[in-house]
Symmetry: C5
């Protein structure tokens, strides 16, 4: 559960309501919403294969649910494996893998147990990580592209509203309200882009970075276990991926950044 | 057939029509369309060699027709080749290549059958892939450049309209409609850029990424076949290019991304 | 204490007050401030994990407090270590490390004293530096993202204000003041982005570059000490990290840049 | 002769005239033109050494004259050289080079004939290509920088016009025409940037890419000739630089991009 | 003396005066200037350590004074050294270095004379060049950042002016002039950014590129001298850094770029 995403979106709309006050009715307009939301989704369809746009729903939900491994727990687990491998031989790891281990870790351990060549393990795991990276980037990119499309459709709607208004200026009293409606699409486009699309795209990128970090820790760990590294060395190598203050052993903080 | 492109464009215009309503007549203006569409095409001619602009028609059509190989079928085919090569020797692949195989795959297999040095095969295929990549990038780039030019010509048209209007302000009743017409070029520029140019440019980039991925899978496969890899290893190597859930063997999903 | 940050912010607000003059009252509006400041913080929450946003307070403070090592003093210290190591052997460094030495330097020296393999020392220290770099980039990036969000929420506030104003144009005398209030969110967004967010993000990036430079100097120094380099060579190598005019030995300035 | 550049510029002005119609007089204003064109050239002088700005005239003309080698003819020529070298020895190439051969190709062949070490030939030619690349990038970059400056000076002119107009609002009838004149600099800036500067900058970049491609083909060819490659291999290697459909031997199209 | 910078700035202000005409008085406003110039400098202080902002004065002056070595003279000088080294041994270079030689060249020669290992010379000189590059980039970057801040403070000033004006609309005759004053900060911001900040930043980048080129030529030359290369080879290698038409020997132009 990513509480920050939920609080953030709720707060953003709450703060916007501070400005709206009792004028909520004036802010709501069906056709304006259809132009901006519909146009943005339509542009996502033109920009991407259908399957990616459908996948987007799942990707979008990911930003509300945090499933990233806690790195300290991951290190502990890998050091455990290293100790087992040292004590009982690498084959003993077959038993050591448990059902709730991360599947990527499990598959790496299995490769090591099977006696796969280190270079090949590296190759297989690295290729997989690269591919995961591509896939994550694509999801975040689609949302970022939609965040560009939303204000554009907002402007298209406002221009249409202005043209209609300018053609019918006989009733001066109608000009203000007509222009107000015209501006709504620009407002919707700005909110869509800056609350619901761009920030989520950035959160997905951050998640991706963190997830890739844990995947790289796993690869480093598997390689170290396979080459028979001392568990202490394994822990040291993996701890370098962490902020000093998060390191398992009460190591002193040697970076002040 | 890329149904997403067609649905997307149709939907985008449909949603825009929600805003236009019964005012379609007010939105249509021949000279405005000529300035924006003509100016955008003219700028494409200044920016690129004539041949590239002519090629663009074919490139543009590509975004409506999806011809990317299905990766799972491609893996199956390459694993087939690997099995044949293992069982009957690499020369047997000459017969195995069929007419409806992908030409890039076929030419790679032929190089392997001819006993070309692995390094040279790699070289020839890699150079070709790099070149294909350049060519794809260029097509997408031209559309992206045109997507920048379109709003610029929209603004040029609007400025011209405003200057004419401001010089002739004797009839107040004419000001509104004159300004409405002036705004039309900006509207056209925004629609051209955000519905017909920029999203298609992005779709072409996505296609290019996918096509290059399959080309890299083919290269990886050819190299593996030539070095006499076990078909199982070939399949494993190539499966790393796929999302886990798409992998041929019912492998468990080991990435949660 | 980074006096430049404090002077800069004070001066920026001072110069803005030159324009405000006696109209400070007209510039202050609670709801406008809530929309822009609240919306910007909300977007930071959507964009980042909660922990990063909380960390941001510490990161932000860093731009007011300069704790970067003075490179000339650092070089002197490392050359001292090199001399001790030459004279008394590398084990003597254990005593030489003092409490107020930089922790990163101390941990590097300890690794060398422990007889860790040079490649492993390099590995451990380099990985740590890369990670510090990532972390610094993230802090600066969050502020840069907030600097994009602030004007966006400014515009959202202004659009809301304009829509409300345009719907209620019956009293012409109220139009001016209403529009003034509407513009305040845009003003707040511009000040927030250009005084308090973007410049601090850039300062953090500069700090990060400088801190990484000293960390790289330390790595270079540790490696040189370990391979038994002559203290003179160590000094030469490290001096190359400095502007010629800052170099410890009265070396002539051999770059005019 | 690059017909596309000429047609493109003529067409762009033609389409703009569709909007201008009979109001050409209203669009022409000497001081406005001086501010925008003069300011843009002045900014180019501030941004670059005098010699580069003077060179720009020649660079600009290049976009109207296409002198890029046709790659298929170039391949034929290099394969000829390869055959001669195979048949009569590499020294025979001295006679084979003709006056109308590309000077870069000729100088490469001369290096090979002189028995220069392959690594040195590679070095000399690669350095030259890198330098040509830098030079081309600079030319295109100056035009791109000017394309940013032009609208800026357009805005400066418009702001000046607006300030003058706003200070003299006693005659309402004069406001419209005064504002029309103020807008002309923005119009000029937009046309300068989007018809005469930015597109030419992009065309120069495309030319540069193509020219560098032929230069890289020449290097690849020279290296292959020197190492005594079979002419068929040389042709294959160089053909990989071409779109399949352009390849000399009626090779099937094995990329559908 | 960089005449282009001086002519460019003078011309830019001259062309702007064409638009101002007899209205100079209307363009000058003390508080507006203070907001924009002061705010831009304040933001530079927030963005950078105090020392860098003070250094900026010297960096800025550099764009008016061209001290880049003429590459042809530099090549001649290095070839001289190569000849001396060949004829009289590398130690003879100690005498050959003269007081008005470039300090970077002199220090490189001294390293070679001292019999320093080639790899170490390379290391020391390369590190220095990289550092000079960083330093140059920083100077240009600060000006580029200020060029972004200037229009932002221009907009802040204009918004403040508009808010004040809109709150006091009782006297219609005062609206025009008040708005004129409000627009002045935007005008100042645009001029500051596009005449005095951004173009100078770009000129510094060009200088940096040229200076780094001569530094790389010097490194290449020193390495060639040290490895005892034939002076002719040295000249050839270094000439590749030059445009063909600038090369010392009347070599034909073998690039048409």
């Amino acid at each position: 559960m990513d509480i920050a995403t939920i609080i953030g979106i709720a707060a953003a709309f709450g703060f916007i309501m501070v400005g709206v006050g009792s004028n909520l009715g004036a802010m709501l307009n069906g056709p304006s919403a259809i132009i901006v939301i519909g146009g943005t989704i339509a542009s996502a369809l033109i920009m991407n294969p259908l399957s990616e746009v459908i996948n987007l729903i799942g990707v979008y939900k990911k930003s509300f649910v945090n499933t990233i491994l806690v790195p300290t727990e991951l290190i502990e687990r890998i050091v455990n494996f290293a100790e087992t491998a040292r004590r009982e031989g690498i084959l003993a790891l077959e038993q050591a893998v448990e059902d709730d281990d991360d599947p990527f870790l499990a598959s790496g351990v299995k490769l090591a147990v099977d006696g796969t060549e280190p270079d090949l393990i590296m190759d297989i795991l690295e290729t997989e990580v690269q591919f995961v990276e591509e896939r994550h980037k694509l999801g975040a990119q689609i949302l970022a592209d939609m965040a560009v499309a939303a204000p554009a459709f907002g402007m298209i709607g406002t221009l249409i509203g202005l043209v209609i208004m300018l053609k019918n200026m006989s009733d001066p009293a109608a000009i203000g309200p007509a222009m107000a409606v015209a501006l709504l699409t620009t407002l919707y486009g700005a909110i869509l882009a800056n609350v619901l699309l761009n920030p989520i795209s950035i959160k997905l990128k951050t998640y991706s970075t963190k997830e890739l970090l844990t995947k790289r820790m796993i690869i480093e760990g598997i390689m170290a276990i396979q080459s028979g590294d001392n568990p202490r060395i394994v822990e040291n190598k993996l701890s370098a991926f962490l902020e000093p203050k998060m390191r398992p052993s009460g190591e002193e903080d040697n970076t002040d950044g």
